[in-house]
């Protein structure tokens, strides 16, 4: 191909040359070039291979509409499937072609096109059915598709995400957008004008114009200057890709020079869409040959980059707007012939040949265009064919905002049906393709926000659009492509119609028309028009598919923002984390908190056993700070806790604790824990560590639903207070050395009582509650004093054989006692009776959450899964958590429950396990089968408590 730079033309900076690699080809360009324009100017014809048939493809368009020029960027920043037409080239970059091996010029897959007639739409569905699609999937996937993600590449840097509110957001900085933005800014509105291209001006940078006696470029510069004076913000390389609920507009701002993209979330008072229009291809055979491209793009490459698309060019059109391309190319010294399918446009050609009433039926050439054949059988030699099949308004954002389209027969396009609440339209998106019409539409767009457009700029009349639609025709000879990116031809649409996939949504899914990365920006309307013709309907009767965000692909890094890596789901941190680290703790996440799993070096199993043994024999210190401490206070507090707990709580004496279950209305156990009564009207709900927010929300909802909100308050004090738990036979003597100013003897402070003392003058609450089965003291102190208390306890505890206790060892100790963890030893069906807690249902008089569910037929079923202990033979390995109890009934094996917790107990010297087993409470002593994958074992059902069943150690 012979695209070349025209001396002196374009807006590139010829003083700043650049060089980059496309595969192994050196490509030279200038600052201001995109990858596509540099490739074009360097004579690289084939920039990609098509998705399905591996046909060679060249640059077709100029911007986001281009279906062909996807490339992978290997350096400096990795990016798959970048659009060469919208990605700026810079020195030293490495670009790789896609879907061609070893490269697109010498693609080994090009033989596939020889079999194209055997691979119509639906080919995969029909062919690779038997025996199984997955047999073929790997090779089919390897043969098709585009860029490759380099799995070893460094992740892109996190994108900033910025929220902003403005009075008026204007999308598109062409003539309409510029005028609308300026008028809104002059009326005192805060204005944000966004443009997806690198420069402001839109069609004014491409087409010649005379506005108020100035050329389009000068007028654009003046508008920018005035916008700046009015304080409007103008952002380029920024795409408004989605309109979401309640008027949220999302923007992606392309980063340059290796800087990551930025995501903007805009809350505009009003949106003006000035998104313009996109040129369609003309349907003729081999219209995908490299060298065939959009006439508007050809003009844009000439005006922006100083590139003439070829030395001998055929311009094929069905409307008046392509004449400027012919004229401009001719003026640049190109031999141009314009073929207009309209009979008489009444235009006198300037420097180029003109054939009217003729259309191109085929492009000819091997691997690139060498000429065209016309409908009268004559041939024209050409090294580039530029086409205009008319313009399609860019209505995507309008439709995302639930706007309804109407068919404009004069413009031969779907246009917006009118403004929406908070959104109006200006410019070519309304179907106005002449400058006077464009400016007139700005006045209409500004009416809803009460801004007067004032005197509109005076413009010189241009070439009238006057389109005579040229839709694809059924039965066309040769390969007439409709969707270049997904390789959909006229024959594929015909096949879809024949097989009754005539609805536009079926057409899309069956042929994949418009489903590629370009989302059919150039192809959808041609496909719809052909389907209309095939089925005897009008184009609006066929209609369009649903428009959904994003308008153009958005990097996942933009959507993720900072929420990746360690910030994806950051754990909560203990106030004593550094203390634990200094003590050699291995930290792990438990229920959203980063907590010590075990302390010290060596194998985890040994560390856990050592801590558990020391806790039974001497004393252990556990950091239980995440344990819930939700205060409930007020005159209605007692009635409230009685209602939210399954257990009777109104009768709890001051100074005492009581273990209880909270239920959901379904009767299912929601949480468990200890309730303390600080005084008549003040309680502390001690809920599960990982469940505090949910319990607080649950309590708030019920408080507001049925209690006097002025007589009941809920306060979550968990973050303010640390909980340090001493447990073991030496806990009391150790605690006595601290002199907290309270009596620790069992008469003054029995099990399930608490008292208040002071540690170095700071209040500390001491509670006798136990999650280990041994005598325990829970010390609750202000978080800021937790380190001092911990340090003192560890120092004083040395003489008593103290160990810090990790979460893993605590889990072993509590499982030995049959103490449950909600959500682990219970599931979404577990009722309190399944856990053996039946007394409140029988005795409690008052109403409570979930009560009615506990007397339902479901709750009375005899075959409910109940909490049990599971014992294996001595010397055997522990059961696998999650393994199922199984039985054979009527010849079929079925699950009767599963193992919920399983550990090796250092105290007992054997494995222990808890499980939920059908009818388990009445089956103690029975041996059942436990299956894990392919292994079957036996276990004996026992009481959940395997250690100290009499509970003597609580006071030991």
């Amino acid at each position: 191909m012979t695209a070349f730079r025209v001396e002196g033309a374009g807006r590139i900076d010829r003083a700043r040359p650049l060089l980059f690699h496309f595969d192994d080809v050196e490509v030279r360009g200038f600052a201001g070039d995109t990858i596509a324009s540099a490739l074009l100017a360097s004579g690289v014809n084939v920039v990609g291979r098509s998705f399905k048939y591996h046909r060679p493809r060249g640059v077709w368009g100029f911007g986001v509409e281009d279906p062909n020029s996807l490339v992978d960027i290997a350096a400096p920043v990795v990016g798959a499937n970048a659009q060469a037409t919208t990605t700026l080239a810079f020195d030293g970059m490495r670009v790789k072609s896609v879907n061609g091996r070893p490269n697109v010029a010498r693609d080994r897959g090009r033989f596939i096109d020889l079999f194209a007639r055997f691979m119509p739409a639906g080919f995969y569905y029909k062919t690779f059915m038997f025996p199984n699609w997955h047999l073929f999937e790997p090779s089919v996937r390897a043969m098709s598709g585009f860029g490759r993600v380099d799995a070893d590449a460094e992740l892109p840097r996190s994108a900033e995400q910025i929220n902003r509110a403005v009075d008026v957001l204007v999308v598109g900085a062409g003539p309409a957008g510029l005028l609308a933005a300026l008028r809104a800014a002059e009326a005192g509105r805060s204005v944000l004008l966004v443009e997806q291209g690198g420069t402001v001006g839109g069609s004014l940078l491409v087409r010649t114009a005379a506005i108020d006696g100035r050329d389009g470029v000068t007028w654009t510069a003046e508008m920018l200057q005035r916008l700046a004076e009015r304080g409007a913000t103008v952002m380029t390389r920024t795409t408004a890709f989605g309109v979401y609920d309640h008027g949220l507009v999302a923007l992606n701002e392309k980063g340059q020079g290796g800087r990551p993209d930025r995501l903007w979330r805009i809350r505009p008072g009003h949106v003006v869409l000035a998104t313009g229009a996109i040129e369609r291809p003309l349907p003729f055979a081999n219209n995908d040959l490299p060298g065939v491209r959009s006439a508007e793009a050809a003009l844009a490459y000439l005006r922006h980059h100083g590139i003439a698309t070829g030395r001998k060019v055929v311009v094929a059109t069905n409307n008046g707007l392509a004449y400027e391309t012919a004229e401009a190319l001719a003026a640049a010294g190109v031999d141009v012939t314009l073929v207009d399918s309209r009979r008489d446009a009444g235009i006198v050609p300037k420097g180029y040949g003109l054939l009217t009433g003729r259309s191109v039926v085929a492009a000819e050439g091997r691997g690139e265009v060498a000429g065209v054949r016309l409908d009268d059988g004559s041939r024209l030699v050409a090294d580039s064919v530029v086409v205009s099949g008319g313009f399609t308004p860019t209505v995507h954002l309008y439709c995302q905002a639930r706007g309804k389209l109407v068919w404009d027969a004069v413009a031969a396009a779907f246009v917006p049906g009118g403004p929406l609440a908070g959104l109006s339209l200006a410019g070519a998106v309304t179907g106005a393709f002449d400058l006077a019409g464009v400016f007139a539409s700005v006045g209409t767009a500004l009416q809803p926000i009460g801004v007067a457009a004032g005197a509109l700029p005076a413009v010189a009349a241009g070439q009238p659009y006057a389109i005579a639609a040229a839709w694809p025709k059924p039965g066309a000879e040769g390969r007439v492509f409709i969707d270049l990116q997904h390789d959909v031809t006229v024959k594929d649409v015909e096949l879809a119609a024949r097989e009754n996939y005539t609805s536009v949504e079926h057409l899309k899914r069956y042929t994949a028309l418009g489903m590629a990365g370009d989302q059919g920006k150039t192809s959808n309307l041609n496909g719809i028009a052909l389907m209309a013709e095939l089925t005897g309907r009008t184009i609006p009767e066929v209609g369009t598919t649903t428009y959904r965000p994003p308008f153009t692909p958005v990097p996942l890094s933009s959507l993720a923002g900072w929420r990746s890596g360690g910030l994806f789901n950051p754990p909560r941190r203990l106030v004593l984390e550094n203390v634990h680290r200094d003590a050699g703790a291995s930290l792990r996440e438990y229920g959203g908190w980063l907590r010590p799993a075990f302390y010290g070096d060596g194998p985890e199993v040994e560390a856990v056993a050592r801590e558990a043994r020391r806790a039974r024999e001497a004393v252990a210190l556990f950091d239980g700070s995440p344990l819930g401490k939700i205060e409930v206070c007020g005159p209605e507090a007692a009635a409230f806790v009685d209602f939210v707990y399954y257990n009777a709580m109104a009768t709890l004496p001051v100074g005492r604790c009581r273990y209880g279950l909270m239920l959901a209305e379904s009767g299912v156990v929601f949480d468990d824990g200890v309730l303390m009564r600080l005084d008549a009207n003040r309680f502390v709900v001690s809920c599960s560590s990982s469940h505090v927010a949910a319990v607080q929300a649950h309590l708030e909802a019920w408080r507001q639903d049925r209690f006097d909100r002025k007589r009941l308050f809920i306060h979550n004090a968990t973050p303010a207070l640390a909980t340090l738990t001493l447990s073991g036979p030496q806990a009391r003597p150790l605690l006595e050395t601290l002199d907290l100013g309270l009596a620790l003897d069992d008469a003054a402070l029995p099990h399930m009582a608490f008292a208040s003392g002071a540690f170095d003058g700071v209040p500390v609450r001491v509670s006798r509650v136990s999650f280990t089965g041994d005598r325990s003291y829970e010390l609750v102190i202000g978080s800021d004093r937790a380190e001092a208390l911990w340090t003192r306890l560890m120092a004083a505890g040395a003489a008593f054989g103290i160990t810090p206790l990790g979460t893993e060892a605590l889990m072993v100790l509590r499982a030995e006692k049959g103490y449950i963890v909600i959500g682990k030893d219970s599931d979404g069906l577990t009722l309190p009776v399944d856990l053996g807690v039946t007394a409140p249902l029988r005795r409690k008089k008052g109403e409570f959450i979930g009560r009615r569910s506990l007397v339902s037929p479901e709750a009375q079923r005899p075959d409910r899964k109940q909490l049990v202990g599971l014992v294996v033979e001595d010397g055997e390995a522990p059961l696998v958590t999650g393994a199922h109890g199984v039985e054979t009934r009527d010849g079929a094996k079925r699950s009767i429950g599963y193992v919920t917790s399983s550990y090796v107990s250092p105290g007992l010297g054997r494995p222990i396990a808890l499980g939920l087993i059908e009818r388990g409470a009445s089956r103690h002593g029975e041996v059942i089968d436990i299956q894990h994958q392919r292994t079957m074992r036996q276990a004996r059902i026992a009481a959940p408590c395997a250690f100290d069943p009499a509970g003597e150690r609580l006071n030991g």
Binding site: D245, H246, E665, A701, Q704, S856
Partner: protein, 91 residues
């Protein structure tokens, strides 16, 4: 991101809120509640297409309130503190 209006805090992004149930699903109480009544209270929802009266919890201030919105268009037509609307407005 939808904008919901907390009666106490004003319009905020939907991620600050948690759905708390259908408005007007009164809890049946007393000794005579049948299995069918209780089951309906637990499980049956009107799931309207169009205007829907709902309870939402504003997580940041902790208040439960009534939010009227359209499940089809997502238009929010009103929000009320519970004490202000529970009696006089029925869905």
């Amino acid at each position: 991101m939808q904008l919901f209006s907390c009666p106490f805090c004003g319009p905020r992004g939907e991620s600050e809120f948690r759905f708390a149930g259908e408005f007007g699903n009164a809890r049946p109480e007393g000794a005579t509640v049948t299995d069918a009544q209780w089951s309906s209270y637990l499980h049956r929802r009107s799931n309207p297409k169009g205007r829907s009266a709902e309870l939402w919890l504003h997580l940041t201030c902790g208040e439960v309130f009534r939010l009227d919105r359209d499940t089809l268009t997502h238009v929010v037509s009103g929000s009320y503190a519970l004490g202000d609307c529970a009696e006089e407005v029925q869905p």
